[in-house]
Symmetry: none
Subunit: 223 residues, 4 copies
DNA sequence: TATGAATGAGGCTTCATTCAT
DNA sequence: AATGAATGAAGCCTCATTCAT
């Protein structure tokens, strides 16, 4: 599985570059929240690349720039890191479709803005990493997935339904399957996500084409 | 993660229903291909439920009705079981869209037959189990996923494209985004698959509705 | 460790060469003593090459031309094979130094005959294999080594002492350390044996030279 | 096989003689090189007693005073311990025969000093343990045995040859087989070593006699 | 006798977690 | 807070032995 998180592990030797001899010898003591973020970033990479069981605390530690034992100053266990990681990753989205619609004079423009937003949110490497984790290890955090389903995924469909209803009422959208069952408008991203998760990286050009085709579909269904 | 494979593990005691006390104690010596199938069935269940690393050879053995050591008379390692499992699961599909189209007088009927076939192929519990493995552990068998992508997934889209082209040529289908980019017609199943993989089992009624909505979409796009 | 036992494992396919269709299918049922010898030969090779623990019943069986289970028709356990093997290998030598002396008119001739006999007995590949086993695994069969020490090794030194005493009495040998402590006359073979066991095969030419030097030593000590 | 290494395993409880109850419970965290030495000492005992395969990591760990897992903080595998062990044991000897000769006014004295040194080097329990390993498991470390053969064994014979040549030149030694083929002067130790390896411990008195007989042989050959 | 699938005990190794420093 | 040696609980795999055929 290609590692979808290309950020470099912090170089453990780079501390030594400092000219300060005290700092050279001193252990790196960073503010807790910075360390926390480093650890969760590292954990996302490792968990997604290897899965929960195969991920080793050593790997996470190394990528986060500290030692295995050091992790335990910040998290009590591997499970706790995993949960914290997904809690952060699944924090409710701030996508406001009504605002997006308001900002988009005509429907064709909205279709584009909307689909672009979907791809930007879901097809980024770290978003794909999270989705891989949800598929592979979601059973470890049923409360979080359930909450995310309710607060984010279903909320998005509900928002979309309201926006489309108003669009139809205003005579700007054609009523049809898509306005009655708006999830169908999201389906193509799901197809792309699944493709990426199973087959790994498609080239960017192909992704752009698929995105444009998705936009065209939305336009055709709502025009 | 809800176990998507409800079939019971062969109960090792259930053989003892026999009245023959000798048979009660007898070791099972089965033909190699039968054992093979039992083992791969068991492995699919366990791997999909837990992932590769967390899967225990003990569990697979118990589910297959033999001892841990016994597995090694049939497969040389956990990895080999995994690969054999996916090799079997990803054997090329025999879906023949042209035949399906021929059997379906009108386009509306074809849409239904086609979508039903998709759901029957992809939403069965064991098919979902395989797809979960592809997402979670596909990196272990890149050659198999690549071959499956080429032989099955892309072949399906190509078939679909040919069928739709003829349909358009015959005047039975409307040309549109969907006929130009047939993957869009598949996207809703992907959405459903991803939903199942992430959120676990939706009730059957809901699934039926989504399937019907998918059919309606296809009809609207091709009518 | 180079395998000091070059004899080929019996080819398991060679049974099929028979034109007799019955025999072709029939399992090879050999006279018990033939099988026995095959098994012990195979066992000597495998035990010496790998040591007792690392030797696998499968390997012994394969080299003996039957299946693992088949071994158990002839021996009850791995230990039993090992003991039978050493019992056979350590059966008392028939070396008769008095006869050798009688056959050797002068002392110089006796020295040569005697040393040659030592090398022929102790430096053959299978004799070295046995000696390796005695060093590596002798603790498994203390009764056999003790008996061999008494019946063969010390008996040889005692024989030699008697022969040399008579030789001195006859005025054919010079009295000296060697006639008082005849083990010193044997020591050079021990050196060669140890060398072979530790460093593996020396070339034949080198061995011949060492043997001649040994003879020269004996002559110098007794002349 | 009689354990040739009588040193006691460090008793993990014996530290508790301390009156400090805190120390009683404390984990031992020793300097790496100390642990290293403890482990290799333990390994020599266990490997020599049982052979490589039959040696248990558990036993080595217990004898070294830590847990099985703890071994792996210092060595990556059983093989690595074995190699490190022999690398240490086979480090080139510092025996300097020329110096020994210089320190020994007459030849008779040199013979004694030289033979004593041989026995002190080769007949100590741990030296015998190493030699047993070389015979039983030398195939695992062919590079080390080859190097030892060259750097130590053959170097010794070469040194001896030079010393004897000068001794002859000075008129202090009689020229003979032994001065031409000095390995013959070493042979009696080989006999003793092989005897010990095969028959286990002879009593000390017997060993002393054999040593004196060896010295007498050397004197007789060189006088 | 011979076969080889099956068993079950046990070994090497890994790794989350702890803790002395 | 940080380190890393140490622990101890598994897990994968091997292999002597058994036994149905």
């Amino acid at each position: 599985m290609p590692n979808p998180l290309p950020q470099d592990p912090p170089d453990r030797q780079s501390r030594q570059d400092s000219q300060d001899p005290a700092a050279t010898r001193a252990r790196q003591r960073l503010p807790a929240d910075v360390r926390n973020r480093q650890i969760l970033d590292a954990a996302l990479a490792v968990f997604s690349e290897r899965g929960f069981e195969a991920a080793r605390m050593d790997d996470i530690a190394a990528r986060a720039g500290l030692s295995k034992g050091g992790l335990y100053a910040h998290f009590r266990s591997k499970d706790e890191i995993f949960e914290a990681l997904l809690r952060r990753a699944l924090s409710p989205s701030d996508l406001d479709l009504a605002a997006l619609r308001a900002a988009s004079p005509d429907m064709r423009h909205f279709a584009e803005a909307f689909v672009n937003r979907l791809y930007d949110d879901l097809m980024r490497p770290d978003a794909l990493a999270v989705q891989r984790l949800l598929v592979a290890e979601g059973a470890r955090i049923p409360h979080l997935t359930a909450q995310w389903q309710h607060d984010t995924v279903e909320a998005l469909v509900a928002q979309l339904k309201r926006v489309l209803a108003r669009c139809v009422a205003e005579g700007n959208c054609r009523a049809g399957v898509a306005t009655r069952h708006p999830w169908l408008l999201l389906a193509p991203v799901a197809y792309q996500v699944l493709w990426q998760l199973v087959f790994g990286k498609a080239d960017d050009a192909a992704l752009q084409s698929r995105r444009r085709e998705h936009i065209a579909l939305v336009r055709e269904l709502l025009a």
